[in-house]
Subunit: 338 residues, 2 copies
C-alpha cells in the first residue's frame, strides 16, 4: 500500500504544499474556505501528517527523552533495580496521556546525548539518578526543558523532582533506635557528591547524634546497588561487625542482605533487623516482608513529566523544585530488642 503524501493532497486540491502545511499546522492566515478544502481532501485521501514534516516546521517532536544510567559503561540499562522500571512505567503513562511519546536511552547525559536531542528535536529530557554535574552540563545548551530525578546538582537550567532523602535516612535510623537498636550499620551504594545516598547518610548521622549514639566509620559500608552487593555486604556485617540492625539505602540491597543472612537459618529479624529504602513492590512479597522507607515512585515519574509539560507551556518558567514526602512502611524485618 503506497502511502499518501502531502503532495497527493496538493495534487487533489490544486493548492500548494506550503498552504496545506500551514493548514495542518494551524499556522498562517488561511481563509476558512481553503482550510475546509484541505481538511476534506486529507480526510478523503486518508493522509496522515508525518511527525518529521511537522517537526521540521515546528522544531517539535512530541518526544520526551528519558536517560537511565548504566550500571557500568557499555552495560545494559540499570534495570536490575525495579525502581527504574516502576518510575519508567509512570513516565510513559503520563506522557502518553498528554500526547507525548517516550524515547529511552541507557546512556550518559553527555555531549553525545545533546547531539541526539537536537537531531530528534526532543521536547524535553528527563534524567534519572545521575550524579556528577560535569556529566550533564553540556545538556544546558539544548535549550529545552530538562528535569533531574533524584539528583542534588544545583543548576538553574534543571528542574528537579526528588524526595526528602535526608529526612528519609533520619526516620529510618530513628525507627531502628526506637526499637532498641544502637549498633546500626549503614549499607549503601557509592556516596558521590550530589547523590541521594550522601543525603541519606547525613540523615543517619542526624538520628545517631540526636540519640547520643557515637558514629562508627566501620559501620558505614558501600558497594554497588544490586542484590549481589547486598549479599556481599551481609557477609561483612556478619563476619566483621557486632551490629543488631542494618539500614540499607535501597530495597534491592536489603533483599540481598536478607537472602545471605537467612540462607541457612532465619537470622532476619531474630538476630539482625533490616530496614530498606524505596518500598518497591517486591518489598511486600519477599519473606519476611521488608520494613522500609516508602516513597511514591509513581508520583515521582508523573511529576517529572509534568515539569516538562509545564515548561513547554510556559517557556519562561523559572526553575521548579519539587520534593515528595517519605514515611516508614512497617512489615516484618525489624525486631524490637531491649
Amino acid at each position: 500500500m503506497k502511502r499518501v503524501t502531502i503532495k497527493d493532497v496538493a495534487n487533489a486540491t490544486g493548492l500548494s504544499i506550503a498552504t496545506i502545511s500551514y493548514v495542518l499546522n494551524g499556522k498562517g492566515n488561511i481563509p476558512e474556505e481553503t482550510r475546509q478544502i484541505v481538511n476534506d481532501a486529507v480526510q478523503k485521501l486518508g493522509y496522515i501528517p508525518d511527525y518529521s514534516a511537522r517537526s521540521l516546521v515546528s522544531r517539535k517532536s512530541n518526544l520526551i527523552g528519558v536517560v537511565i544510567p548504566q550500571a557500568e559503561p557499555g552495560s545494559t540499562l540499570m534495570f536490575q533495580n525495579p525502581f527504574y522500571s516502576e518510575i519508567l512505567s509512570s513516565i510513559e503513562y503520563t506522557a502518553r496521556k498528554n500526547g507525548y511519546h517516550v524515547m529511552i536511552s541507557g546512556t550518559n547525559a553527555d555531549e553525545k546525548y545533546l547531539k541526539l536531542a537536537q537531531q530528534r528535536n526532543l521536547d524535553g529530557i528527563i534524567i534519572i539518578g545521575m550524579y556528577s554535574h560535569e556529566s550533564y552540563a553540556d545538556l544546558t545548551k539544548a535549550n529545552i526543558p530538562l528535569v533531574l530525578v533524584d539528583s542534588y546538582v544545583d543548576d538553574h537550567h534543571f528542574h528537579t523532582i526528588k524526595i526528602n532523602d535526608r529526612y528519609g535516612g533520619y526516620i529510618a535510623t530513628r525507627y531502628l533506635i526506637e526499637h532498641g537498636h544502637r549498633k546500626i550499620a549503614f549499607l549503601s551504594g557509592a556516596l558521590r557528591e550530589s547523590s541521594v545516598n550522601r543525603q541519606r547518610l547525613a540523615g543517619y548521622y542526624d538520628a545517631l547524634k540526636e540519640y547520643g549514639i557515637p558514629i562508627r566509620k566501620d559501620y558505614v559500608l558501600t558497594d554497588q546497588i544490586n542484590f549481589h552487593a547486598g549479599m556481599h555486604l551481609a557477609q561483612i556485617v556478619k563476619n566483621s561487625t557486632d551490629v543488631s540492625a542494618v539500614f540499607c539505602t535501597a530495597d534491592v540491597l536489603a533483599l540481598g542482605v536478607i537472602k545471605e543472612l537467612n540462607k541457612n537459618e532465619r537470622v532476619v529479624p531474630g538476630q539482625i533487623s533490616v530496614m530498606g529504602f524505596d518500598n518497591l513492590e517486591i518489598a511486600e512479597f519477599c519473606v519476611p516482608g521488608l520494613t522500609t522507607v516508602g516513597q511514591d515512585i509513581y508520583q515521582k515519574g508523573k511529576t517529572a513529566v509534568e515539569l516538562v509539560l509545564n515548561h513547554i507551556k510556559n517557556p519562561n518558567i523559572g526553575k521548579q523544585e519539587i520534593s515528595l514526602p517519605v514515611s516508614i512502611v512497617e512489615r516484618e524485618s525489624v525486631r524490637t530488642i531491649s
Copy 2:
C-alpha cells in the same frame, strides 16, 4: 544559542538545499569536489542534520517502536512483572549498539498504533506478549518489519521470537513427578488462544499422560499474572486442594504463592513444593530460592531487535521464526517426597 540549519550551510556554500541534502544523505550523483565543500561547511558551522529532515527524505527514523501490554485498559505499563523490564533492557541496548533508538508504548498494537507508526516513520515494531490476532492485524498494513515476542499467532507478516513453551511446561511437570509428586496444580494467567500459557498447559498435560497420572480440571487454576494473584491462588490451593506441588507459569505468581504459604510458618517446600517459570533475577534472591524453568530473557530481547535489523537489510526476507531453549534451574523450593 541559535541552531545552525541546512539553510545556513546553503548560504555559506552558495549551493542549493537540495544538493546539500543529497550529500548528507549519500544520494544523487554529486561530484566529489562539491561533496567536499558541503562536508567542510557542515564541519565548520557545526551543523547537525535533523532526523526529521532525513526522515522526510528517506522515510526512515532510526526509531524502533516497542509495544508492551497494559495490565488493564488505561493502566500503566505491565511493569509489575520484571520480565518486561529485563527484556526491555536488552532491546534498548541492542538497538542502541546498532544506531537505533527505542520508543516505548504501553498500549494496544491496534489501528491507532498503526497511525502512530506511520506518523513517526518507525523502522520496525516489536510487540511483546499479546494474544489475539485481531488486536494487531491492522499493523500488517504498516509495511515495516514486525516482530512478535511470545505469541503463537500464525501470520506470515510477523517474525516471531519465543521459547519452546510446551516443552517448558513438560519439563517443569516432569521434574515435579520425578521428585515424587503426583498431585500437581497448574497455576497460570489467562489461557487465551495463541498465548504461551496455553502451550505450557499442553506441556503439563503431556507429562501427566506420560506418567499415567489422571488429569484433574480442579487442579488447573487461573488468575492475572502478578504477586497478588499468586497469593490469591495459594489460598485456593491451601483451602480447596490436596496437592503437594504447584507449577506456576510465571515467577511472579510463584513468589506470591510462597509469600502466602510461608506467611506464618515455612510451608514451602516442606509441605508444598513450588516450581516457577522465567528465572527472573529475583528468583535467585527470594527465600527459599525458586526452582524454575529458565529462559534467556536477554537473548530474547536481543534477537527481537536482530530480526528487525535483518528485515531492514533484506526487505524481501521471508518470515523468520526463532525458538530459544529452556531448562530447569534448581534451587530450594521443590522437595523430594516418597
